[in-house]
């Protein structure tokens, strides 16, 4: 039932998103949208010595996509960039406390992770174009 989805934690992050906005001169700026529903997420990152020094997200969409993005920024802030590589779909769903979402809504919850992984891939490929092949599957989350 939807009361299980729209608990206070989700609604709080939806209404008062953490780390929302833009970073001036970010090291990574990346965005994506969910073509089925039009949810949009963009993420800015500041990276120092491969550690995420600052992260901000911006976007429009449903409570699940926006709250999930807000919680994800808290989760990876000040962590090594490589942690993004290891983050899985289940990590996100557990983090936001929604492990029984239907197939349509799961995509809302995972959009921000997808964007973050795309950003990480872009960062490494920009640094070392020869890694493109090796990195190309790293942004898959579904």
């Amino acid at each position: 039932m939807s009361e299980d989805i729209y608990r206070e934690m989700i609604l709080d992050h939806y209404r008062n998103p953490r780390n929302k906005g833009k970073i001036e001169e970010p090291d990574i700026r990346i965005n994506d949208s969910n073509p089925l529903c039009g949810d949009e997420i963009s993420i800015d990152l500041k990276v120092e010595n491969d550690v995420i020094k600052d992260i901000k997200f911006d976007g429009r969409g449903c409570a699940i996509s926006q709250a999930s993005a807000s919680m994800l920024t808290e989760m990876v802030s000040n962590k090594p960039l490589t942690t993004i590589k290891d983050l899985t779909k289940d990590d996100i769903l557990e983090n936001i406390g929604l492990t029984n979402l239907g197939p349509a809504r799961i995509k809302c919850a995972l959009l921000s992770l997808k964007v973050l992984k795309l950003g990480m891939v872009k960062y490494y490929v920009d640094k070392d174009p020869s890694s493109a092949d090796e990195m190309k599957d790293q942004s898959k989350v579904y």
């Binding site: 939807s2 729209y6 609604l11 039009g38 949810d39 449903c62 699940i64 809302c108």
Partner: protein
């Protein structure tokens, strides 16, 4: 006062309406603009074809093939009558509205639209009546001109006149628009528009996906040159669309899909195409579902399209009046229900449409949330999505009441 149509009796013809969802909840199906439910007459007609006379049409001489051909062609005639076309060969079967429009874009547009030409459409078009023209325009070097939609959801014929004049004589090759918007619900004055276009010798394509299922259609009266619509939005099965084209235009059109069934003679170096409409129906068609569509047309005729329309006007009035009572709701499209088809798009402040639809599902209520395949319109309205409730012949006031309860519950959860 006597009811226009006996909704409760009609409901008994739809097996899905008596199924139970989780917790024994009834299905409150309000997503009819996406697809409608099917009466048992349609389901039975399809099943009868497969169990009694399944055979390929138009060629074989044995009994069941002749029966199949006859039933398939009967549907063509039923559709001719349903939209009041002059000739049954003006009716082409496709897979859906999208394919019908693509057929015009490729087969007609391919030889009639040239570099520097213009195609006029509106800002509220469904992607199915927008992307094919973008693709054609890109191939041919032709441009699209968008007719604006105002805040109330109307378009202006003066603006259309202006656009045509600015473009220059003979440059505008086609005007293409939905007769009814799938987001705003607006029914547009196509007859006047077509008259204006024809005065300037411009043909008009109507996307009838939303209008044909919900009101009487008369192609001789509107005088449209092309009309596209889908069976599955009017009680019929998925996988069948219709394209109506005026005979004099159709006779000059090149084929779209080539191959079997659309030929008269094939030689190593050349082919003589079949006559219309078969020239446009390459390959084995969706025989079973075309026959099923015939049963859907019979069902609608039994009710009467005027009654369908009157029922929806009344129900839309009720839906609009109930929605308006909800705090901080924004309703899109015309205020007058006679200018509307049976659908209403809305947003409740602070609740995203997807969240709204998820909560409504707890009540068994099925509505659509999203951009409704009309992203150009969404940009114009400056929203990413909306919720949409859309009605048909089997919907009741009680179901609208359940929708309203569910919306108020969503407001409580989101504390708006």
């Amino acid at each position: 006062m006597q009811a226009l149509l006996d909704v409760y009796k009609i409901r008994q013809d739809f097996p899905i309406l008596s199924r139970k969802l989780f917790d024994g909840k009834n299905l409150v199906y309000l997503d009819n603009a996406a697809t409608t439910q099917k009466p048992k007459e349609v389901i039975d007609a399809i099943s009868r074809y497969y169990s009694e006379y399944n055979a390929n049409i138009h060629r074989a001489v044995y009994q069941i093939a002749e029966e199949a051909t006859e039933e398939y062609e009967k549907t063509r005639e039923k559709i001719r009558k349903f939209i009041n076309a002059r000739h049954s060969e003006e009716i082409i079967f496709t897979r859906n509205t999208t394919e019908s429009i693509n057929l015009v874009a490729y087969a007609w547009g391919g030889s009639n639209v040239k570099k520097g030409n213009k195609i006029i459409l509106t800002e509220y078009e469904h992607h199915s009546n927008l992307v094919p023209w973008q693709v054609l325009g890109r191939t041919k070097g032709a441009k699209l001109n968008y007719l604006q939609v105002d805040n109330e959801g109307y378009i202006s014929l003066e603006e259309l006149d202006k656009i045509i004049s600015i473009t220059g004589e003979g440059k505008t090759k086609l005007i293409t628009l939905s007769e009814m918007s799938n987001v705003l619900g607006t029914i547009f004055p196509v007859k006047e528009l077509i008259k204006l276009a024809h005065d300037k010798k411009i043909p008009v394509l109507l996307d009838g996906a939303q209008s044909v299922p919900h009101m009487p259609t008369d192609v001789q009266d509107t005088d449209c040159d092309f009309l596209a619509f889908s069976a599955h939005k009017m009680l019929g099965p998925t996988g069948v669309g219709v394209l109506y084209v005026k005979k004099e235009i159709l006779e000059k059109m090149n084929p779209f899909i080539s191959g079997g069934d659309m030929i008269k003679e094939v030689h190593k170096e050349n082919t003589i195409f079949n006559e219309i409409p078969y020239k446009f129906e390459g390959g084995t068609p969706n025989i079973a579902d075309v026959i099923g569509f015939g049963a859907a047309i019979d069902y609608l005729n039994e009710i009467g399209m005027k009654n369908v329309r009157e029922h929806e006007v009344k129900m839309t009035e009720y839906l609009m009046s109930k929605l308006t009572e909800i705090k901080s709701i924004k309703i899109y499209g015309p205020k007058r229900s006679e200018d509307r088809g049976g659908l209403v798009s809305f947003n409740i402040e602070g609740i995203h449409p997807h969240d709204c639809a998820t909560i409504l599902n707890d009540f068994g209520v099925a509505i659509r949330s999203g951009h409704h395949c009309a992203q150009v319109l969404m940009e114009k309205l400056d929203i990413v999505a909306s919720s949409r409730a859309s009605l048909y012949i089997y919907n009741t006031k009680e179901e609208i009441d359940i929708l309203i309860d569910a919306l108020n519950h969503a407001r409580r959860i989101f504390k708006t």
